[in-house]
Symmetry: C2
Subunit: 530 residues, 2 copies
């Protein structure tokens, strides 16, 4: 490991406390103009509810894990209270820590995890698996009613690179490794995973698997579910190993049942992944498109021609204009005059010759379709700020602006409708003053994702305002036949719409698998399973 690890997350904000900052001046003026500035203080040192778990119960665990790995102190509990969705932050900022776990347990290996599960089953304690704490869908807000207590199962000590197979280009990683840690360990072997979601600096390998994460370079490297070739899972009924071959016909692919299971079927303790050699050439570029529709059609052309770059994303007119005015913000500018159009970022990674060949081919296609090349500066600017947007959200919340992101995906022929419907739903819910930005960040032969960022003047109590907007957008997604989530997972926030997407029988199957693997229901109760 060559890079310093990021510190623990701030309990009431995103990410590294040292990187939290006020709104940059350039943005502040814009925000004031659009929404007014209405400072919202963060409640400091809010009291935690007393730990509800009998200390004698915890002593059993202390004997097994060591006392230092079974914590009930305020700091440990505060840091593992909920995740980082906007409602999670609103509650934390208001000093509401009602969802704090009674204890934080930190197993050191698979057998420790199994022991914690056996203990939880024996005493009917709810267990919330905790990786980076970056859930934005309430995936860490488990139900505690009916349980003797609730513990956060922090996987942060399972952070080893267990095996590397250079011939097969696979590696076995432990679930508690954060993105940069995993990349550093692999880099020492000349390898990379190439998985860079916005949460990369804090999110973990286990979390990527448990939520079917998708990264900014997934066009080139594949979604995380496509990277996983094997899994080891600790369940209340024992160990489960999956992954006999790259592909097989030995019944349903049960790996795909664990991927996306959000800790409700078991705790992932090892993840075998496909790896790639570290790219020796990397180029990011910007393109200007006359409209979102024309740019999206160009993406479709590339995907269907099998010519996708490693990274490809496209901002709509609003997101492009806002980014132009806020050069430090989510994305870079198109560098043009009065009509910025729509900004696309393309990125190529690999061997220099292959990168140049792909880039040349893509350039020819995009130019032919009406794109204007903007050179490398917009691409570099995007790459530089690619993990920073969540810090900006905190700064906006500080001045009374409600900011949230939501994402979906659909088939190409349904893209324009979905885009219009979700925008309309958000604007109807939040009022004309709201800003709705959108980009396409994940592209397939048959369709694409849509990622919305919305900003509005926050009500005095912003939670009901958020709930209404979220419900309106979610309703628009399922009504359009699209998915409720392309890469943020279900958690508790998306659960009300899940059955509309996977059917009553889909819900029934999830309950059946849950009942089979976790018969007493101690794992992440209330999350995912409808």
């Amino acid at each position: 490991m060559t890079r310093p690890l990021p510190a623990e997350m701030h309990p009431q904000r995103w990410g590294d406390p040292a990187r939290a900052a006020a709104l940059p001046e350039s943005t502040r003026g814009l925000v004031e103009l659009a929404f007014g500035l209405d400072p919202r203080p963060v409640v400091a040192d809010a009291p935690l509810p007393a730990s509800g778990l009998d200390d004698a119960l915890l002593d059993d665990l202390r004997d097994r894990l060591g006392a230092e790995h079974v914590r009930t102190d305020d700091d440990a509990r505060r840091l593992r209270t909920r995740g980082k969705s906007t409602p999670d932050l609103l509650r934390a900022r208001a000093g509401d820590l009602a969802d704090a776990p009674d204890a934080v347990v930190r197993p050191g290996d698979h057998d420790d995890v199994a022991a914690v599960l056996a203990w939880a089953v024996a005493h009917h304690v709810a267990v919330v698996p905790f990786g980076g704490g970056t859930s934005v869908t309430g995936g860490l807000v488990a139900r505690r009613e009916g349980y003797a207590g609730l513990v956060s199962l922090d996987l942060g000590r399972l952070r080893r690179l267990l095996r590397v197979d250079h011939e097969s280009m696979t590696a076995v990683l432990e679930p508690g490794l954060r993105g940069p840690e995993a990349e550093a360990l692999l880099a020492a072997e000349g390898l990379t995973l190439g998985h860079y979601p916005q949460s990369f600096e804090y999110a973990t390998i286990g979390g990527f698997a448990a939520t079917r994460s998708s990264g900014q370079s997934s066009a080139g490297y594949g979604r995380f579910d496509a990277l996983v070739v094997g899994l080891r899972v600790a369940t209340p009924r024992g160990e489960w190993r999956l992954g006999s071959a790259p592909a097989n016909a030995a019944g349903p692919d049960l790996r795909q049942l664990v991927l996306g299971s959000e800790g409700v079927f078991g705790v992932i303790t090892e993840v075998a992944v496909r790896v790639r050699r570290i790219p020796t050439a990397t180029v990011y570029e910007g393109w200007r498109w006359p409209s979102f529709d024309v740019g999206a059609d160009a993406m479709r052309t590339l995907a269907q021609a099998g010519m996708l770059p490693t990274v490809i994303r496209l901002s709509d007119e609003t997101e492009t204009a806002i980014n132009l005015a806020r050069p430090d913000a989510i994305g870079p500018s198109t560098g043009s005059g009065t009509d910025p159009g729509c900004l696309m970022i393309t990125g190529f990674e690999g061997e220099p010759t292959a990168v140049e060949a792909r880039r040349t081919a893509v350039t020819a296609v995009l130019t032919g379709l009406g794109g204007t090349p903007l050179g490398e500066e917009p691409g570099e600017a995007w790459a530089h700020g690619r993990f920073d947007a969540p810090y900006l959200r905190d700064a906006m919340l500080d001045v009374g602006v409600l900011v949230e992101t939501m994402e979906t995906a659909t088939w190409w022929s349904n893209r324009a409708r979905l885009y219009a419907d979700v925008r309309a739903a958000l604007t109807d819910s939040l009022g004309e003053g709201a800003l709705v930005l959108c980009h396409v960040s994940h592209v397939y032969e048959t369709g694409c994702s849509l990622y919305f960022t919305v900003a509005a003047k926050a009500d005095e109590d912003a939670l009901p305002q958020w709930r209404a907007a979220k419900a309106a957008a979610s309703e628009a997604m399922v009504a359009a036949g699209a998915t409720i989530t392309h890469h943020h997972a279900v958690g508790t926030d998306h659960k009300p719409w899940l059955t509309r997407e996977i059917g009553e029988l889909g819900g029934s199957v999830l309950r059946a698998v849950k009942a089979d693997l976790d018969p007493t229901g101690v794992l992440n109760p209330g999350v995912l399973v409808p």
Copy 2:
């Protein structure tokens, strides 16, 4: 539909009765030399067991489907007795039709299928979904004990192309469409599925999905599980629709639970697939390699460089030598002198410019790694005979040679061990006189498949001989940590080894899902679920 459909299968042989033939002369001499010729007559007009289903029960179905679609005549029942594995054929040839269904029901649409399932549940009748009847793993040999009877649910009337979305490049196909029928319907739209397993001429869309089929062009087009974007399933508990987007994070991917479910969870009534434009250029070529190891390493290099052709396959030394001696057989010759080495076939399909670019790049890599180009003749010969091997098996059985194929897959670093172990197991079981051929036909970044063809002088009763060889090979596969099947599915023949591969918990999960969707267990009882 522009092409004539193949006729119904011969009940005791593979494929079109009109294409059944004696061993070609060139092969006959070789076979005589290796095994002797020991003609084994096929029992003609073997009697069927009487239909065990009460006619009054069937009248309910006749009211619904029409009398002509509920058949109990000998022809209909004989044609749907078991599949086309070597043991299935051995039994059929011996006149053993004990597994004949009591009736054959032919629903016309999804609602008909649902009605048949409701009827089966009400009367506790076992239902065996039937597509092309091409199973080679006993997938059609369901258990009948404990049921009022057993019906074959023939999906042959569900053969429509329901929808085409040219923008999203998807199509919705009914499950009863055979490979050539589906391709003909899509071709009228300028599209192709590109799915060509050896069973292509008879196997169906529903069967491809239910067994996680993989085709000879899957390197270029993707395995069938990668082509499926949506499913409609009739279950005993009602309709189930899946597929909201190209990819999502809305919990586990339940499509992957239906794919490979072999009719035990429900009957697939619609399959939404990703399609491609019909290639305007196609080139198949041959390459000679000094050894199987060197050739396989070259495949690995291409896969890991992201340079796979549309088709890529490699025969080992024995298969190459045998094919050289039998130019009409499974594969073409390397065209060389005394040491034929190992034959590789590469195929490129797409737009002419792209095909030429990919071919040039692959040629450079393969030449650099020690391959010798053999030109297009061996490639064309392979493409010409690619669906013919099963006819040859019948001709070999006719002269007393036991022929069987079995396949597996593993990681690259385990390939050589798996190859050696399975060969040794087969030779140990069948004796030194047995011929064991092998090829790699499916290649991934992390590993590959191994496809074995074995021929041996048949014992008087060849079934126990087959069972012992199959068990020895299967044992070697699971002992090596490989999959019991890369693309033939589980059926009943692979079931004894499935739990070793997916774990006790994997078996438990399959039983839980089965109990949830098919609570009375009428669907394909005894198949797949351990």
